[in-house]
Symmetry: C2
Subunit: 195 residues, 2 copies
Amino acid sequence: MGADTQKAIFEAAKSLIETKGFSAMTLRQLAAEVGLQPGSIYRYFESKDALLQALMNQHMLSLLESWNKVEGKGEDEDEDEDPVSRLRAFVAFHIRYHIERRADVIIANLELRALGDDYRADVVTKRSHYEANLRAILAEGVKAGVFPQVDLEVAAYAIIAMLTGVCFWYRSDGRLSIDEIIEVHQKLVLQGVVG
Amino acid sequence: MGADTQKAIFEAAKSLIETKGFSAMTLRQLAAEVGLQPGSIYRYFESKDALLQALMNQHMLSLLESWNKVEGKGEDEDEDEDPVSRLRAFVAFHIRYHIERRADVIIANLELRALGDDYRADVVTKRSHYEANLRAILAEGVKAGVFPQVDLEVAAYAIIAMLTGVCFWYRSDGRLSIDEIIEVHQKLVLQGVVG
């Protein structure tokens, strides 16, 4: 029961923060959403800040774990291990993963400043671990001579910003399917506009 | 005096919103920052929402105007008018303009949801006018056969997200100069990772 309630609090909090913003959300509203007495929320989170930190932490851990699974899958198949294929896989993974978790993306991007310094440092470190995967793919490509020299840090930031940006305009009833959007981004990341 | 006070309110509001968020900022704090009685703020803005709308509106108008000046400058020089040069100029302009206006970028990106629907629609329309400049450059390149076919709308969103992303990690005491950062992005936008 405890785990279910915690999950219900998470989901309700995500939805409230996505719509109203973290600062405008009160624990009283959150408790009402999940049918708890206001004071009972504290059995699950010691403060509103701790709740935000737990939400962001969970999002980053789950992102890291999911990417590790995608990378792990290709280990037995040699044709999936060249840098171009890995980069294409990263683009597809990142867009698909984040499009399905719009609330998490909005919270991670818009509420980072609401976190205390220590909590923020922790989220930034986890984010950096995730970005390191992309930097490693780029470095491998440069080393193999498939990609020309590029500043790995800036390139990784730029690619991730481009891919995450999809969440801010994508609509499930829009003109293009997720697959088509992924294809445009794979092409842009790999070949740029000039092609 | 009125215009100076209004400007002081703008600057103080930007700084408060950047640090604390719009929802957490009170008009009382804002008035204190600029040395006004709380009630006097209403001589300049009829509500907190109207202030946010004015800030975003000013940011978008000034962005559009600044880009028009950049484009205008090249009109007499034929060598600046090919799509590749125009795209390179757009990349440099967008990064440079936004890096110098970090507070505006944070507000425009993080507080859009705090605007009422009508205000938001107006900002989104202005943003779309700005994006249309990039789409036009891309379309011209495709038409001229310099750029291969690409979805103009998605490509414009992707490029702008990539470029604006710089504001979220750039530090003036960082490893790379603005010029170096611009160069990496011009290369990524034009040639992608494969080069």
